[in-house]
Structure formats: structure tokens, C-alpha cells
């Protein structure tokens, strides 16, 4: 199996009990249970983190960098995601949080929210210039971009070809640090403090651009613990660091990016299943007047990411308090000369069955036939999320009919019936076999 990009969810085999929770929950059907353990098909995985949320055995492990990676760099810059601002109680001044980042060991802080305000400005301009691409679909959530890339090829042309705020923040932060310190770019560590593993893999193998400026991606939950111990200290005499305004910080919540466009012809959906519904409808052209579509794989937006600490809706409420004291926007520099996608994003037909037309027809007919044969209760005992998924696995040559315990049971029943019949025949008088042997 080829790996399109580095993945952000791994399996802890020792903890996996081979239950069916994750296979049922995966929105792209990327997981199978084989030989008693879950197996993630990385071609299909979009890093949404649903399996991490559902696995009560904690066998699904989101991948991110340990805080110790800070030791590798002379000068360390923190890039806090807007969602970090919603993790703390009674935070009414973002300067306290940014000061606390200094106190926990960072030399400098560059708010992703401030770069987000530039992305908002770039997006507004792009929307003005490209009405032929309406509705433009946000590309800030890497899971959504990956999902469209493998499952909604007709929507690829609608993707907003602008890098996510974190990438723009990383580039700007490094330039600024080089200028201010005189150090070489390699001595500067750019640390993104991330709400989700999708952003981790997006930073490691970005879509739409060749390379990333982010050196390491830390989990909000790891950083949170360290920040808590220095927050009180920071609150006593906060430095004047905050740049991001309401628009930038708002990016952490579903609908925030769209709000930054100052355009009411938009739709914002959150939660991966809801997003899939919207994408299906977009594909069928059910919306005619929309100019922008914001989709966040996590419920509530980035505050719902699996690497966060707080309940997303509480985080949202906390951010409303903070936003009240912020200016509308704080980043009033020119639109940067970078930040557009430079690489073509192409359709990855990972779901395709069969190579030539004849084979496709045959395999699909086989799938239809098998699906009718299976009980249709989608029990998951075979390791596939549904009877149809098992049928497709069989057509691909990756599973067999008797993986279905109902078919297996039926077969056993038939064999037992035959054995009973044979037994009867063997003991019937005048028939060769045991009878003759017995008569000797």
C-alpha cells in the first residue's frame, strides 16, 4: 500500500482489542479489523481523528512532536493556534496567554490568528477576482482537503488555493526571527501548537505546496499543562504581544473563517459527517448562490480537535468572552507575496474497483450479488464496517465470503447436514463401506 502522505494516526497494537467501534465510525471506511487488530488503510485515511475519539481502549494514537524537541533549536518561536485561546478559564486578555508561552520557554511568539487575518484578506481578494470558481471551498482544514481529493474529484477546482494560516505564520515568523536575531534559519525552531493531528500531517507533508516552514508540531494538550503553571505569573505583568483581533482568533471556531470574508453568501458546516453531506450536495449543485463554503472536520471547528483539552462548546463560549475585548482585526500589514498554492492538487482515485471497464463491470456486479447474499445487518464481525464494504473487499481480493460469520455458519450447517446424511447412508444395509467392513 502506497503512502500518499505521512499520517497522523497510528495504531497501538497492544491496546487494540479488535472491537468494531473504529471501523464503524471511520467516515472513509479506511479501517478493517484483521487478525484481531485494527488496520488503517493510509490511502483512505484523511486524518480526521474520529477513530481517536471513539476508541475507548486508546489504541488509536495521534502523532505529534514531543515538547523536548524545543532543545534542538537555539531560538524557539511558538505559533499558537486560535483554538488554544479557548482552553483557559477567565482569559480576557490574550497577552496573558502569549506571555505564558514566553515563560514556558519560547523566545518569541507569532500568533497564527494574526496570519489568519492576512489569509482572510487574501481570500476576500481571491473571491473578488475569481467568481467563476464559486463556491470556493476553504482549504484551512487539511482533513477536508484530503477528503475532497480522494472522494469529490469534481470539487477540486473549487478549492481555495491559499495556504492555511499556520504556513503563512511560519514563513513570516522565521523571516522575522532571522532579522531580529541574526541567527541562521536552521537555528530557529518554528513550533506550531496544534489542536489536531490532521494539521500535524499537513505540516509534515503539505498539500498544494512543496515544503513546510513548520519544524515541529506540538499538541495543545501537552503545552496546556505547562502553561497552566505559569499563567498566574504571566497575568501579573503581561507583555504587550497580542496582534490578532476578533477575525483572527475567530478562525478557531466553526464559521469564523467565513465571518472574516465579510460576505454573507457563505455556508459553514462542522463535523465530518455533516461536511460529507454538504460536499455531496455541492457535487449535485444543490446550492446556486453560494460564494464560499467553510468546512471543518471537527464538531465546533478547530476547538473540537482531538489534541485539545476543553469541550469544544465550552471553549467556544470562553472565546466569546475573550473576543469581546479584541479589536476587529489587528494585522494591518500588506498581503504577503507568498502564501498561494504552488503545486497542483490532483484526484487520488483510491476507492476505484478494477482497472479496465470490463473488470469494473464484473467486480461491481460481484459486489451487488454478494451484498444481496450477506445478511445486511452490518455487524462488523468480519472486520469490515458494512456488508457492502465486505463485498467490495472480496471483489478486490482482500477478503473471502466466509469472513462473514453468517455465511460461515450457514456453510457449517450445510456440512453438518451432509455429514448426518452420510452417516445414515453408511449404516444403511447393502451399501459399501463400513457396513461391509463390519460384516467381515
Amino acid at each position: 500500500m502506497s503512502d500518499m502522505y505521512e499520517h497522523a494516526v497510528q495504531l497501538n497494537r497492544d491496546k487494540c482489542v479488535g472491537c468494531t467501534n473504529c471501523i464503524k465510525r471511520c467516515p472513509t471506511g479506511a479501517i478493517r479489523v484483521r487478525e484481531g487488530k485494527a488496520r488503517i488503510n493510509h490511502d483512505l485515511c484523511v486524518d480526521c481523528g474520529e477513530c481517536v475519539r471513539i476508541c475507548e481502549h486508546h489504541a488509536k494514537v495521534p502523532v505529534y512532536d514531543p515538547i523536548e524537541r524545543m532543545d534542538e533549536f537555539v531560538y524557539k518561536v511558538a505559533l499558537p493556534a486560535p483554538s488554544l485561546y479557548g482552553q483557559f478559564n477567565n482569559l480576557d486578555d490574550s497577552n496573558i496567554l502569549l506571555t505564558a508561552l514566553h515563560k514556558m520557554g519560547f523566545d518569541s511568539v507569532f500568533e497564527v490568528g494574526s496570519a489568519a487575518e492576512l489569509v482572510s484578506a487574501m481570500s476576500r481578494k481571491y473571491l473578488d477576482d475569481h467568481p467563476e470558481q464559486f463556491p470556493l471551498i476553504s482549504t484551512a482544514c487539511p482533513s477536508i482537503v484530503k477528503l475532497i481529493r480522494i472522494r469529490f474529484p469534481s470539487l477540486i477546482d473549487h478549492l481555495l488555493p491559499i495556504q492555511p494560516p499556520v504556513e503563512i505564520a511560519a514563513e513570516m515568523a522565521r523571516r522575522k526571527a532571522v532579522k531580529e536575531t541574526g541567527l541562521s534559519p536552521e537555528q530557529i525552531g518554528i513550533f506550531f501548537i496544534s489542536p489536531c493531528p490532521a494539521k500535524v500531517s499537513a505540516c509534515r507533508s503539505p498539500i498544494g505546496v512543496k515544503k513546510t516552514e513548520v519544524d515541529a508540531t506540538l499538541a495543545i494538550k501537552d503545552v496546556y499543562v505547562r502553561l497552566l503553571s505559569v499563567m498566574d505569573d504571566a497575568a501579573e505583568d503581561p507583555m504587550d504581544l497580542a496582534v490578532a483581533g476578533r477575525i483572527g482568533v475567530g478562525w478557531g471556531i466553526s464559521g469564523g473563517e467565513a465571518a472574516g470574508l465579510i460576505n454573507d453568501r457563505y455556508l459553514a458546516a462542522d463535523g465530518i459527517e455533516n461536511c460529507i453531506k454538504v460536499l455531496n450536495d455541492l457535487e449535485d449543485q444543490k446550492f446556486s448562490h453560494l460564494q464560499f463554503v467553510e468546512l471543518d472536520a471537527c464538531a465546533g471547528g478547530c476547538v473540537g480537535g482531538v489534541l485539545t483539552v476543553e469541550n469544544p462548546y465550552i471553549a467556544k463560549a470562553k472565546m466569546s468572552v475573550l473576543k469581546k475585548y479584541l479589536p476587529v482585526a489587528g494585522m494591518h500589514t500588506d498581503i504577503p507575496d507568498f502564501g498561494r498554492w504552488t503545486e497542483e492538487v490532483e484526484f487520488e482515485p483510491v476507492f476505484t474497483l478494477g482497472s479496465n471497464f470490463k473488470e469494473k463491470i464484473q467486480k461491481m456486479a460481484q459486489v451487488e450479488e454478494l451484498t444481496k447474499k450477506f445478511p445486511g445487518i452490518d455487524c462488523g464481525s468480519c472486520g469490515a464496517p458494512s456488508c457492502r464494504a465486505l463485498a467490495e473487499d472480496i471483489a478486490r481480493g482482500e477478503a473471502k465470503e466466509t469472513d462473514c460469520i453468517h455465511i460461515l455458519w450457514k456453510n457449517l450447517h450445510t456440512i453438518m447436514g451432509m455429514m448426518t446424511e452420510m452417516d445414515k447412508m453408511a449404516f444403511a444395509p447393502g451399501i459399501a463401506g463400513r457396513e461391509e467392513e463390519g460384516s467381515k
Partner: protein, 140 residues
């Protein structure tokens, strides 16, 4: 094994929220077969419009989709009241849908015109109180 694939769906009557299930399933199957996105889009729009029509006007019906290496043939058959004036029904904006249906956002009179627009061939056989069969073809 034959060189074409036949898919059958039943459209349940009187439930708008479920109209679209057949088009969704056809779409999924065609995607799994790796059909060109533009073809999938046209087929699923045409079937969706047909499904809605079957729910609004005809008490449901049967949809048969046949995929071969040349085309995708869609036959939508119902046992509804029939279309009294096919020529009028083909005009954009013409609809006989009840007010209650229009209030739900349906019945804009674009069903058959859209089905014609998105397919390469469309023919209608209809008889009063017997039913209607719409046959559509999208060439590959």
C-alpha cells in the same frame, strides 16, 4: 459474466427527505467504478430530479440503471397519474405540483428540463392513470 451492470432501486412515496437515496447510491457505485466525475454528476442530477418527480407526482416507483461500456441507461417507471401534457411539462418553470410541495422548495418546474439538460437522450412514455416511464441515456 455479462458486459453490463444492472442496478435497481425502489423509490418510496410521500417522503421528500428520502428522495435522493437512489441517486446517492448510484453515485457511490459509479464512483467506486472510477467513472469520470462529469458523467457521475450528470447521472446523479438526472436521477435525483426523477426521484423527486416520482415522489411528488406518482406515489414512488422503480429505477433501473444499466451501465455498459457505451452508455448509462436510466429507466424510471411509475404507476402514477401520467403526464397530461408532455410538451408543457418539458417547459422550464411549468409545474403542476401542489402549493404544499412548492412551499418545501420543490415543484419549481425544472425537473424534466434539467433531466433533458443533463442527459444525451430522454424519452417519455405516459398514459393517463396507468403511469409514466422516463428513459434517459448518458453516453460514455
Amino acid at each position: 459474466m455479462s458486459d453490463s451492470l444492472e442496478l435497481k432501486y425502489t423509490v418510496d412515496p410521500n417522503d421528500f427527505t428520502r428522495a435522493g437515496e437512489a441517486s446517492k447510491r448510484v453515485k457511490k457505485t459509479l464512483k467506486t467504478m472510477g467513472m469520470p466525475p462529469e458523467i457521475i454528476r450528470r447521472v446523479s442530477i438526472a436521477i435525483y430530479e426523477g426521484e423527486i418527480n416520482m415522489v411528488i407526482h406518482a406515489n414512488g416507483g422503480e429505477i433501473t440503471v444499466t451501465v455498459s461500456d457505451e452508455d448509462i441507461l436510466m429507466v424510471l417507471a411509475d404507476q402514477g397519474p401520467g403526464i397530461p401534457d408532455v410538451e408543457k411539462a418539458m417547459q422550464a418553470g411549468y409545474s403542476t405540483a401542489a402549493e404544499s410541495v412548492r412551499n418545501l422548495g420543490f415543484g419549481a418546474g425544472m425537473g424534466l428540463p434539467n433531466m433533458k439538460k443533463y442527459t444525451d437522450e430522454l424519452s417519455i412514455e405516459t398514459e393517463k392513470d396507468v403511469g409514466t416511464t422516463v428513459t434517459m441515456r448518458v453516453m460514455l
